[in-house]
């Protein structure tokens, strides 16, 4: 079937590597992290994943650096570091 109408298909990075937009980089301090899951829950970008043990990991290719994760972290385990 010829594509005659603009059909879009799901793709990560539909706007490219949005990590490039970042001004501040969130970095998880795993020694402080208590695995509460709030950073994962509140990430608007779905750019924080949980591994098999439910440990959060930031996907820097796409993280736009909004800083919600750091703001919502109850134990202040996420630092925002200015990008170079």
């Amino acid at each position: 079937m010829r594509v005659i109408t603009p059909i879009a298909k799901p793709k990560e990075g539909s706007a490219g590597l949005t990590g490039k937009w970042r001004i501040f980089k969130p970095v998880i301090n795993y020694s402080k992290c208590n695995n509460c899951g709030l950073c994962w829950l509140y990430c608007p970008e779905a750019a924080i994943t949980l591994d098999g043990k439910n440990v959060p990991k930031i996907v820097y290719e796409y993280c736009k650096g909004c800083g919600i994760c750091a703001n919502e972290c109850p134990v202040r385990a996420i630092d925002l570091i200015k990008e170079e």
Binding site: P10, T18, P44, A46, N54, Y62, C63, G67, I68
Partner: protein, 301 residues
């Protein structure tokens, strides 16, 4: 509630894909992410003109792992009704047709179609993500912009009150109406799941603080959303078959002393920075009056 508690309600599966064109800290992204998790992918989305028309991705890419029909500004509810009836005629069961529309597409240009679909009790879930202005076109006031708020078309602050849309929809006597907030995802997800158990018209009005339009830093989206609820400016409730019920944190705020003063919410936002003490008192009084009315609803139900 801890990780285990969250994961009991919130699936890990993502349907909003990262790397989409939303602004940093976007409440529409947050809401969509929760909505689609709650629906588990068994949904067709209808999206009228809004910020989400962009967020959904530039052709040939989509940021969502559900089928989407983009549609004109005023047409969301009736388009969704058409899809819903077509699925029934075709014998396709168990697929929820969902409108995801902004406050302009819902309360202003889309209101006629919304009211029509609600009155006909069309089998759709209509979610309004309310960022309280026309954000995609550059922060123009809508009928859901609150009193006093600066927008590009109300440079001295809006002089009218915010339209009480969820109650207007409830007056259509539809089976399910709820309010929600991007600051309270568990409450939202539970409401979506409850809503889709009903056949007929379901409405969820989602408060969605927008960093860009409300003039607060992108890391404060959730904080501002929570403060709207904690101050009682935004109320979480549901009306199930006409029965009104406060939910989540709002259910503990009937006692006025439990509510934070509205200024805690207002002062975080640049759109309210010009407000006088008098304006703030007026907003506080308005909130108090609204809660008196809510008390009456709670007692009646």
């Amino acid at each position: 509630m801890g990780m285990k508690g969250i994961l009991r309600v919130v699936p890990k599966e993502e349907y909003l894909l990262p790397g989409n064109p939303s602004c940093p800290g976007c409440p529409a992204s947050l809401g969509l992410r929760y909505l689609l998790k709650a629906l588990g992918g068994k949904a067709i989305l209808v999206i009228p003109a809004s910020c989400t028309s962009i967020i959904v991705g530039p052709y040939p890419f989509s940021s969502l792992r559900v089928p989407v029909l983009n549609i004109a500004f005023a047409a969301a509810a009736s388009t969704a009704a058409g899809i819903s009836e077509a699925l029934k005629v075709k014998g396709k069961e168990g697929i929820q047709v969902v409108v995801w529309a902004g406050d302009g597409g819902t309360a202003d240009i889309g209101l006629q179609a919304l009211s029509g679909a609600a009155e006909r009790n069309s089998d759709i879930l209509y979610v309004c993500y309310d960022n309280e202005a026309y954000m995609n076109t550059g922060i123009q006031r809508s009928s859901l912009t609150p009193y006093g708020a600066w927008t590009t078309t109300t440079p001295k602050g809006k002089v009218e009150e915010k339209k009480n849309l969820p109650m207007i929809v409830a007056e259509h006597k539809v089976p399910y109406v709820a309010t929600a907030s991007v600051g309270y995802p568990i409450d939202l997800i539970l409401k979506v799941r409850k809503a889709i158990k009903y056949r007929g018209f379901k409405y969820i009005h989602l408060h969605a603080p927008c960093p860009y339009g409300w003039r607060f830093p992108a890391n404060k989206t959730v904080e501002v959303a929570k403060l709207a609820v904690k101050t009682g400016i935004w109320v979480l409730y549901e009306i199930e078959n006409g029965k009104f019920r406060l939910t989540s944190l709002s259910s503990s705020l009937i006692d006025p002393s439990k509510r934070l003063p509205v200024n805690k919410y207002l002062k975080l936002q640049g759109r309210f920075k010009h407000l006088s003490e008098e304006d703030i008192s007026r907003i506080q009084e308005h909130v108090n009056t609204m809660w008196d009315e809510l008390m009456r609803l709670v007692k009646e139900s």
